[in-house]
Every structure is written in structure tokens, then in C-alpha cells.
């Protein structure tokens, strides 16, 4: 019972982890992308479109599904669609210098709406066969270690590896240094000869693409290929997780597991309905507490990027 709970917590956390890793990249460049929920929806839509095309290309022969291609095609299409959402957001906020909050919220409504509309036109027959490939565990052994850590599909590990890689790039490479500088002080970065606009676009598009994989995971892995209109709720938690992890993707791994555990905890307990709903609220409350604590401690490193939410215009001195 407890093992299954832990296992499912880790599994569920993957949605948040993809979302928050992507959002962290975007926020590090000084862009608060509140469009993440919509972008995760678009990622899910993209994944479904891709898989549907894949199934068509192999002639609907479910026995011939190749696990590797299925997963890779899903990821690529999810990133493509979500990246497109990121590109729209980037164009609005980087080139046109629109208000980031308004643009982000617009992308959220846009993404969710577009997804809910077009998903009806996607042929989702055979998705349960595909989902089997996504959820195929690394090991089927029955001991506690395998149950918790080795029983997941490929995307779970991809999320963790991605988070670690992004954390490494942020901390240890010039690319990360330049990106952090842009989020902190774009004028300084510009004067130092960094291509500010280029970095911002890449981080918006790439960040959104990574967030989008979260949507794909939710549909293909967590829901075993069925559809549910609740991805945007996960998206908001992913945005909250970025704050919870104080803009560090490696901390986000632990944070996402906590969020995941709290989210599914009600299903493993016999609490009354009211208590269950309260437990579901805890992640949001915890995020607020983290915000309060970080602002009380006032350590400069755990503050949001200084230029977060501000448009950069070179001529403005």
C-alpha cells in the first residue's frame, strides 16, 4: 500500500517536473510565462496528433507499434506544438514587449481552448496500445526498490535527467551564466555582448517545449491514453513549483514528488470529502509559505530573477 503510494507519487510528480523545468528556463530569462497551463495542453494535443499520425503510418496495426519510435514521436510533436505556443508568447512579450502577465494568461486560455476544440478531431483509437509502450517499466521485480524507482516508464526518467541537466547548465556553464545575467539585468548582459533577444527566444521556446512534454505524459502515461480536460490545473501547480523550488530544477525534483504525493494522498486515505479537498490545497499553501520564508530570509540567490516580468528595450536608459 505505502509502496504503491510512493510509486504513484513519483509517477504523478513527472507532470509537474516537466512543467516546472520548462518554466524555470523561461523565467530565468526574465519572462514570467503564465501561459504554462495552456502550453501543457498544447503539448498534450501535439502528442496526440503525432501519435495519431504514427498509428496511421503503420496502418493501424497495433502489434507493429515500436516503443522507441512511439515515445520519440510523441515527445517531438508535444515539443513542436508547445514550442509554437512559446513562440507566440515570445513574440508578444519579447518583440512586441506586451505585458507578460496578460500575454501569459491569454496563452493559457488560448492553449486550453484550442486543445479542447481540436482534440475531438484527433483519432484516438488504439491509444491504449500506445500507452502500454509509454508505461513499460524498466524492471518488473517485486522488491521495494524496484517498485518505487524502477517501475516507471521512460518519461519519468527523462524528466529527472532533464531537470538535472538544466540545473547543471544553469550553475556550471557560460550558457547558464549568460541566461541568468539576462534575467537579472538585461542591460548589463547586452553591454557585455550577449545576444539578449536570441537567448530570450530560445529560452521561451525551449522552456515551453519541455513544459509541453508534461502534458504528453499526463495523457499517454498517467491516463493510459484516455483524455481528460484537467491539464491546465496541473499547469498551475507547475508554475507554483517553480517558486517552491526557488528557480532550481534540481530542487524541483524533490518538490514535484512532494506535490505529487499531496495531490494523490486523498485517494489512499479514508478522510471525509472536505478533508480530502483541503489536502489537495496544501501544495498551493506550501508555495505561499515558501514565498514568505524566502522573502523573510532575503537571501539574494533565492529571490526571483530581478528583471522577471519586465520588458527589455535597449534604447531606454
Amino acid at each position: 500500500m505505502f509502496l504503491t503510494f510512493l510509486k504513484n507519487a513519483i509517477r504523478f510528480s513527472t507532470i509537474f517536473l516537466f512543467g516546472s523545468t520548462g518554466e524555470t528556463i523561461t523565467e530565468k530569462s526574465g519572462h514570467l510565462n503564465l501561459g504554462t497551463p495552456g502550453i501543457m495542453c498544447m503539448g498534450a494535443l501535439g502528442g496526440c496528433v503525432g501519435e495519431s499520425l504514427y498509428l496511421k503510418s503503420i496502418g493501424g496495426d497495433y502489434a507493429a507499434i515500436d516503443g522507441f519510435s512511439a515515445v520519440v514521436i510523441g515527445i517531438l510533436f508535444a515539443m513542436l506544438f508547445a514550442g509554437l505556443g512559446g513562440l507566440i508568447y515570445g513574440f508578444l512579450t519579447i518583440t512586441l514587449r506586451c505585458n507578460q502577465n496578460v500575454s501569459g494568461l491569454a496563452i493559457t486560455t488560448f492553449g486550453a481552448g484550442v486543445t479542447n476544440f481540436f482534440i475531438n478531431y484527433v483519432d484516438r483509437n488504439g491509444f491504449n496500445y500506445l500507452a502500454a509502450k509509454f508505461t513499460a517499466p524498466v524492471s518488473q521485480a517485486n522488491d521495494w526498490f524496484s517498485t518505487i524507482f524502477l517501475s516507471h516508464g521512460a518519461l519519468v526518467y527523462l524528466a529527472i535527467v532533464l531537470a538535472l541537466v538544466v540545473a547543471f547548465i544553469m550553475k556550471k556553464t557560460r550558457t547558464g551564466l549568460n541566461l541568468t545575467a539576462i534575467g537579472e539585468n538585461p542591460a548589463t548582459a547586452d553591454a557585455a555582448g550577449i545576444n539578449v533577444t536570441g537567448y530570450k527566444y530560445v529560452s521561451c521556446v525551449l522552456g515551453s517545449g519541455i513544459s509541453g512534454i508534461g502534458g504528453l505524459f499526463y495523457i499517454m502515461d498517467y491516463l493510459y491514453g484516455s483524455w481528460e480536460y484537467s491539464i491546465d490545473a496541473m499547469g498551475w501547480l507547475a508554475v507554483a513549483l517553480v517558486i517552491f523550488s526557488v528557480w532550481k530544477p534540481n530542487w524541483g525534483i524533490l518538490g514535484s514528488i512532494l506535490f505529487g504525493a499531496l495531490y494523490i494522498l486523498p485517494y489512499y486515505t479514508n478522510f471525509s470529502f472536505a478533508i480530502q479537498e483541503i489536502i489537495k490545497m496544501i501544495p498551493y499553501a506550501v508555495t505561499i509559505i515558501v514565498l514568505i520564508i524566502t522573502s523573510i530570509i532575503n537571501r539574494r540567490e533565492s529571490q526571483p530573477p530581478a528583471a522577471l516580468g519586465l520588458s527589455y528595450f535597449r534604447e531606454e536608459r
Partner: protein, 570 residues
């Protein structure tokens, strides 16, 4: 030592709209020298330097670097020509360490696969194989080498991108060579102003600059830190670097520079060897001859003390004293001018009186004209508290559209900023402000399509008229105006002078902060000179000499003037 020219400016002209910032400036900078650029506020020093380092582009004229004509369109171009500028406002990322700030934005050394391939082929051609087996082996080797090149490039890129521990090595070399005393692992937000400046200098040196431009580097430093900076500058000079230092302080000019170039109103007056000149001669060059402006000045009548500031001290955000022990009295029916180099504490002084600035010590006393001998203490009061005390204080701030008016609101709404509490219940009174706005537009000849036009759409002079008009309409007893004619054309300026004079005749104590010494001398009854937050003298407006004020601003004959101050204050 043989003198070689490092940088030469010929006939440089730059205009912003109708304002001429630089006019036909010629300047030469030699290798291994320190050149001081001296001039009053607005004499075009910073504009000139910004053209050298690529922030502005000159309208006319040529720049020669190392004898060759150079086109500098961006800071990047300037870096390529080994020119580096240290701005007054540091460009540093706060949460980074000193070392990270220095290496920020550094580009990888060029590595082209094509060129490297050509090199490899050229090297291989030197070897002439004889046997066929050797020939095959030779071809194989070359092929392998060539196909490895892209991977070498990727490898180099990864190696460059990875921030190894060794990233501080090259920086340490530079800092020990010039004797910088700095901890490279310290975060910028933990640093003092002087340390931040050091990081900026290291940054410029790390990029290989041969010509360094420092914009008022000493303004924010303590005397000990200035000595340290000068020692470093001398060491860099001896190392063959050329340095331009912008400063207002004459004693520093004499101490550090080899030559001095003087700018006045955008024009290059002269360049002299420091050894052959003295501070007095430089001041005269800097301020120029007195120009008569024909501003009418009435004799003050019914002069009474209205506002007394005693031992006022203000500490600014950097922990430095912005105002140090400032004492003076503003009297009714008089215009008190405040002169000083920009940033000498004028802003803090006015804001402290207006209740916008936290003070560290001293007294601000107000004498109510209606009640005899009634003193009101204005220290640490908010603007609303001051108003509720019945003190009619009007303030025309330096930052018109930031502090004075709201750019997106129309004239009427801006009038209401002073009267929004009036009206019935929750409804505001719009009628009176509208009348007031129309009144101001009519009386002060404000050019505007109507009173419903957002003030941001008006020109600078009209914005200023609206602001001054509103402040005067409050029937103040003390009127403070900071740079009210900045950016205004001659006619608007005279309108403002006239308004100030009218207020003076009405018995208002006017405090006028200005930068043009000619205006200050012609307009004001007394002139208080600030220098680095201290009062360096109070002189009588009638009969004051421009040179004397110039010297006081740069604090030269401080002691003599102090004596006069006391007499004037008594």
C-alpha cells in the same frame, strides 16, 4: 619618452534635437598618459565620451584610433578597438561573484573547421610519400584528422562553456599586476561602491582595453579609496595604457592627470599640461566670462526668516553622507539660489524639506507668517502631515513627469493631485481643478489642445509651466524649484524666471536650484553653494563673481568662504 597618439578626435559635433551637445571638438590622447576632461554640468563631457565608446554616433567629425580612422557604432565596436568605459552607474549583475561578472559575455576564441582543415592539409603536403602503402596510410591519417575537426570544435566549445575552477586564473593575473585588492569570489551585493568600481575596471582590462575612460570615478569614493584608485591608474599609465578621467574636482585633476582638456558649453576650450597650469586658471576656463542675462530683479522687501535648516544630515542608500551638516535660512521675499555640481546633495536637501527623504539628524524649522514666533518642526514629517500643519510648501521637483505630474493623466486630473481630498462625500470636486487648469493654460500661455490632453503629450516647457502653475496656485509661503528651466527654450525659461520673481514679490521664500551660474547670479538674492553635501559658502547674488562660485563648487577656498557664510548667516 616618445609620444604616440592613441586616440584622436577631429571636429566632432553632436546635436540632440536643437540642443548642441558637442561642437567641433578636437582632442588628442597619447599612449601612457592620463588626460582629465574638465567642465561644468552639461558641458558635453559625457556625451563626448559616449561617442568614443559607441553609445552615440557623432553627427560630424572623425575619430582616429591608433592613427586609423575608426567607425564606432556600438559598444562592441569600441571593445574591438580596445576602448573601455567605466560608467558612473555600474553595469554589474548583483547575484554574481566578481569573477563571473568579469567573464560574462566573453566569446570563445575563433575556431574555424575550414581554416583548420586547410592548415592540416598544408602541413600534410610537406610529407611526400613514396610507397603506395604509405600513401594510403597518409591519406587515411589526413582523412581522420579532417573528420575529427568538427568534433574538436564541439569539444572546445564544451570546454569553453564549462565554467571550471580555473576561470579565476587569468583575472587573478590582471588584478595582481595592477595591485587590485579584491576577493574574486565575493558577490557583488556584498561589495562596497569602491569594490564594485574595481570589478568594473578589471572587467574592462580583462577585455584587453588599451584606452580607458572613467566617468566621474571619484564621485562615490572616500578619500582613502580615491588614493587607492589613483595609485592603480598611475600603474596602468606606466604600463602604457591611455586613460581619460572625467571629473569636476580640481584638486584631483591636479593630482592625477598629465594634461587637462577643458570643455565649456559643448566646445573644447583648451588642452593644457597640468604642470603648467593652476586651479584658478582652470576654473576661469571652465566657467568662462560672465554673460548678462537681463533678468529683472527686484529688491527684497519685508525680509523675514521663513525656513531654517540647522545641521541637516542625510545618509543615502549607499551609506554615504548625501548631506553633511547643512545649515541655512530661507527668507520671505527673497530667492535663495542653490548652486553645486550635479549630485552634491541638492535633491536630498529639497526632498528632506518636503518630507520625502529620511534624515539622519538636524532641524528643519518653519516660521508661520500669520503667527508670531511660532516655530513648526518639519523633521521626519510626511508631506501630508506637513500640509495638515498648515505649512504651505510647494515643491517643483527635478523629475517633472515622475514626481511632479502623472504623464498619462490630463491637466485637470493633475491639478486634482493637490485637491483630491476636497469634494463632497466620496465624490471628488472636478469643477475647481478644471477652472484652475484653464486659468493656468490662459495665464501662462501653455500650448495644449485642451485641458483634457494627457500632460505627457505636451512639450517640456509646457509641462513645466503646468507644474509650476499648479504649485503657485496653492499660494505657497515656501516655493522650492529644482532645475525648473532644464531642457526649456529661452522664452519658456524667462517665463519661469518671471513667475519666480512674482512669487518673491508676494513675499514667498523661494528656493531655486539651478545649474547655470549666469542665471543664478542674475536671479537670486543669495546663493548657497553645495559641494559634496556640505555648504561650501553662501554668497550675495549681487556682486557675486562666477569664478568665486565655480571655486566654491569645486571646494577650493572653502575656509575664506566659511567666514563670509557666518557673516551672511548672522
Amino acid at each position: 619618452m616618445e609620444k604616440t597618439v592613441a586616440l584622436e578626435l577631429k571636429n566632432i559635433t553632436k546635436t540632440f534635437g536643437e540642443v548642441v551637445a558637442n561642437k567641433n571638438v578636437d582632442l588628442e590622447l597619447y599612449r601612457g598618459e592620463i588626460l582629465s576632461l574638465l567642465g561644468e554640468n552639461g558641458s558635453g563631457k559625457t556625451t563626448l565620451m559616449n561617442m568614443i565608446c559607441g553609445i552615440y554616433f557623432p553627427d560630424e567629425g572623425e575619430i582616429f584610433v591608433g592613427g586609423e580612422e575608426a567607425v564606432i557604432r556600438s559598444p562592441k565596436d569600441a571593445f574591438a578597438l580596445k576602448i573601455g568605459m567605466i560608467h558612473q552607474h555600474f553595469k554589474l549583475v548583483d547575484i554574481f561573484t566578481a569573477a563571473d561578472n568579469v567573464i560574462l559575455g566573453e566569446h570563445m576564441p575563433r575556431y574555424s573547421v575550414k581554416e583548420e582543415g586547410k592548415k592540416a592539409i598544408a602541413a600534410a603536403n610537406g610529407f611526400k610519400p613514396v610507397k603506395p602503402a604509405e600513401k594510403i596510410l597518409w591519406g587515411l591519417k589526413l582523412g581522420l584528422k579532417l573528420s575529427a575537426l568538427p568534433f574538436i570544435k564541439i569539444g572546445k566549445k564544451i570546454k569553453f562553456d564549462y565554467l571550471a575552477k580555473s576561470r579565476t586564473r587569468k583575472i587573478t593575473e590582471i588584478s595582481s599586476r595592477y595591485g587590485f585588492d579584491i576577493d574574486l569570489k565575493k558577490k557583488i551585493y556584498d561589495m562596497s561602491v569602491s569594490e564594485k568600481q574595481t570589478v568594473e575596471i578589471i572587467k574592462v582590462l580583462y577585455r584587453g582595453a588599451e584606452i580607458l575612460i572613467l566617468d566621474e570615478p571619484t564621485a562615490v569614493l572616500t578619500p582613502q579609496e580615491i588614493d587607492k584608485l589613483f595609485a592603480i591608474l598611475r600603474r596602468m599609465r606606466d604600463d602604457g595604457k591611455s586613460i581619460i578621467i572625467i571629473t569636476h574636482k580640481l584638486n584631483e585633476v591636479m593630482a592625477i592627470s598629465d594634461r587637462v582638456a577643458v570643455l565649456r558649453k559643448g566646445e573644447h576650450i583648451a588642452t593644457v599640461n597640468t604642470a603648467e597650469t593652476d586651479e584658478k586658471a582652470l576654473t576661469e576656463m571652465m566657467v568662462g566670462k560672465k554673460i548678462d542675462l537681463n533678468i529683472e530683479r527686484a529688491e527684497p522687501n519685508d525680509v523675514k526668516d521663513r525656513l531654517t535648516v540647522r545641521n541637516l544630515t542625510v545618509i543615502n542608500r549607499d551609506g554615504m553622507k548625501a548631506l553633511d551638516d547643512v545649515s541655512f535660512t530661507a527668507r520671505s521675499g527673497e530667492i535663495l539660489g542653490i548652486a553645486g555640481i550635479a549630485g552634491s546633495g541638492q535633491r536630498e536637501l529639497l526632498e528632506a524639506i518636503a518630507g520625502l527623504q529620511k534624515t539622519a539628524g538636524g532641524d528643519i524649522l518653519y516660521f508661520d507668517p500669520n503667527k508670531e514666533d511660532a516655530e513648526v518642526d518639519l523633521m521626519q514629517k510626511t508631506p501630508v502631515e506637513i500640509r495638515d500643519l498648515g505649512v504651505r510648501l510647494s515643491f517643483v521637483p527635478e523629475d517633472r513627469l515622475g514626481m511632479g505630474l502623472v504623464g498619462n493623466m490630463d491637466l485637470v486630473d493633475n491639478m486634482m493631485l493637490r485637491s483630491y481630498t476636497k469634494g463632497r462625500f466620496v465624490f471628488v470636486d472636478r469643477k475647481n481643478p478644471k477652472e484652475l487648469a484653464e486659468h493656468i493654460v490662459h495665464d501662462l500661455e501653455v500650448v495644449t489642445p485642451g485641458v483634457r490632453t494627457p500632460v505627457r503629450k505636451l512639450s517640456g516647457g509646457n509641462v513645466q509651466k503646468v507644474l509650476v502653475g499648479r504649485e503657485i496656485a496653492a499660494a505657497p509661503t515656501v516655493l522650492m524649484a529644482a532645475y525648473p528651466v532644464r531642457g526649456l527654450d529661452i522664452n519658456s525659461s524667462y517665463t519661469i524666471y518671471h513667475l519666480l520673481n512674482q512669487q518673491k514679490e508676494k513675499g514667498v521664500a523661494v528656493i531655486y536650484v539651478g545649474e547655470d551660474l549666469d542665471v543664478l547670479i542674475d536671479l537670486c538674492d543669495r546663493i548657497l553653494v553645495l559641494c559634496a553635501g556640505k555648504v561650501s559658502g553662501i554668497v550675495d547674488g549681487r556682486g557675486a563673481k562666477k569664478e568665486d562660485i565655480g571655486l566654491l563648487m569645486t571646494k577650493l577656498t572653502g575656509k575664506e568662504a566659511d567666514g563670509e557664510t557666518k557673516e551672511a548667516a548672522l
